[in-house]
Symmetry: C2
Subunit: 332 residues, 2 copies
DNA sequence: ATGAAAGCGCTAACAC
DNA sequence: GTGTTAGCGCTTTCAT
């Protein structure tokens, strides 16, 4: 059994396809009687319309794409959920792609999304030449950047206030009497590591605590990055009473290494992370961290994107900075 | 600047649109010279095709839908990733929807996916009358059921071997000398709780250990379910030296309650979970659990679905049972 | 090996 | 308030 077409509905209702179309879209007045006959015909036939044909005609697909490094990274499912919740009411669906930060897969996905005439893209990561992105905008494709500005004016952006948030977390440690505070960071010029390190330094300098390069490592964003950084510090005999980790995963690695070395948390060493992934409240001791507001960011991206698509907002691209909040738990 | 159409390519290459189409699909021999001219024209114009028009014509969209209760539940992003990895090579994209188990949203999403002519759906949860699902199959939409059989023959299915796996985990506790083993389960008739409880009972009976109803609680699948169950057991003065939890989240709640009561794990009480979510290795002590093979299930669902769509497999629906494996960590 | 033309199902001028 | 018709961009008979 094939799907009924609009023509089937029109015939059953004794009207033209135009009238059926307009009772559906409401873009033109239709008499009450005609409407009623169309509606019953639709119900009887189980007509649901053909989105392909509609999209081909209207140049709108009610579809957006979401590009993330890895949906398996606990931050992104929450973002994805926020995006979905923000756009479903407007009838949009979202196509998700994990690219592993691979520029080739990123480009292939975006190309495919253009071929599929999606109305917009949320880019959670960017390894794409801005020229390529620029051509997308030319092709009537709206873009929202998540977590970065891409250094150019291509679309609205939603980012964290990395520097300010980490400074606040660091001040929390200082206020608790910690003075030898280590920073366990990500690789330079990759991700938010540098901004977060700057926040750490802001807080120390603001409190008159001199920066000590021996206390800073930049090993990465993974659990193992955190543990290896701390192991090295301990092996080097560096004295420290607190750790600011670049994210929660690294902070959990820090906890691993401290436990292995017999140091108590927060007794001997206080630890703070960043993101507030679910695991932050699951580890023991639970992690004091900065809520990165993944869900809120997702909804913001989704809303921004459909407002752009619909023309509800126009003109200069917005740069929305979502302030993180310090979540106090056991580790600091 | 508008997207180039196939006609633009044909004109630039000095051939017909038919020839362009066939050099792209390979469904008909095209002379080497014509091919070459078409390819260069495509490159010069940056032609990428219009998936809407193609889908309208071919009745295939290279799109599948994935319905899950909640992408935020740590099990599902891994499944989603598996699905994606299994289908991208074949050119498929996946549209994900979290329904929160709400039948209304589930139905609305499926209806929309039918309107969008997706080639198939992976259903991670089912609150849908089988009649509705049956009509989907009639409409040339292939279905794969994830985690359940839906009690009817509508599509292939990929499930866990809940009973066998939990029995194995329970026997592991028995082999370690535990005899007073509690079961912290989910609500009856909701999710995999009953099957897992049956596995727990199989193992005890197989070892000649009598079942003790006082050791069994069915509070739910959340972290708080686990902790409240254990708190109750302790308050009731029930003696136990091990706990089988219905899933990892509940098991983590069990750890919470035991720690609060000053019981050591695994010294006083051994604990096993189910799923092997990331958090299982993050908690302290790390959780012995059953790997629910989320990624593998995702790839299986994806592969099965596109094999059905392509007609590579036909006939009776397959029921694939993915055996879980016991992952030994610190808690048991 | 290649082209002309029909048609997938819909919406939107345009005409009444 | 309603209908006729062209056309969105593609694939695929059918004819050569």
């Amino acid at each position: 059994m094939r799907q009924p077409r609009i023509e089937d509905v029109a015939r059953a209702a004794g009207v033209s396809t135009t009238t059926v179309s307009h009772t559906l879209t409401g873009k033109r007045p239709v008499s009450a009687t005609a409407q009623a006959r169309v509606r019953t015909a639709i119900d009887e036939l189980g007509y649901s319309g053909n989105a392909l044909a509609r999209g081909l005609r209207t140049q709108r697909t009610l579809t957006i794409a979401l590009v993330v490094p890895d949906i398996t990274n606990p931050f992104y499912p929450v973002v994805a959920r926020g995006v979905q919740d923000a756009v479903t009411e407007a009838g949009y669906q979202v196509v998700v792609c994990s690219t592993d930060g691979d520029p080739g897969r990123e480009a292939a996905f975006v190309r495919d999304m253009v071929a599929r005439s999606v109305d917009g893209i949320i880019l959670g990561l960017l390894h794409m030449p801005s020229a390529v992105l620029g051509s997308l905008v030319d092709r009537d494709l709206r873009i929202v950047l998540l977590g970065h500005h891409a250094g150019h004016q291509l679309g609205d952006s939603v980012t964290s206030d990395n520097r300010v948030s980490v400074a606040e977390a660091t001040r929390h440690l200082i206020a608790a009497g910690r003075t030898r505070i280590a920073f366990v960071g990500g690789e330079h010029e990759a991700g938010p590591g540098d901004e977060r390190q700057a926040g750490y330094e802001d807080a120390l300098l603001g409190a008159g605590i001199p920066l000590d390069p021996a206390l800073v490592s930049t090993t990465g964003y993974m659990r193992v990055s955190g543990s290896s950084a701390i192991s090295q510090l301990l092996a080097d005999g560096v004295v420290f009473d607190a750790v600011v980790a670049v994210n929660d995963l690294a902070a959990i690695g820090v906890l691993d290494a401290l436990r292995a070395a017999g140091r108590t948390v927060p007794g001997d060493v206080a630890v703070v992370g960043f993101d507030d992934i679910d695991a932050a409240s699951l580890v023991h001791p639970s992690l004091t961290t900065i809520d990165n507001r993944a869900y809120e960011k997702g909804t913001l991206c989704g809303r921004l994107l459909i407002q752009r698509i619909s023309g509800e907002i126009t003109g200069d691209f917005r740069r929305i900075v979502v302030p993180g909040t310090l979540v106090l738990r056991e580790s600091a």
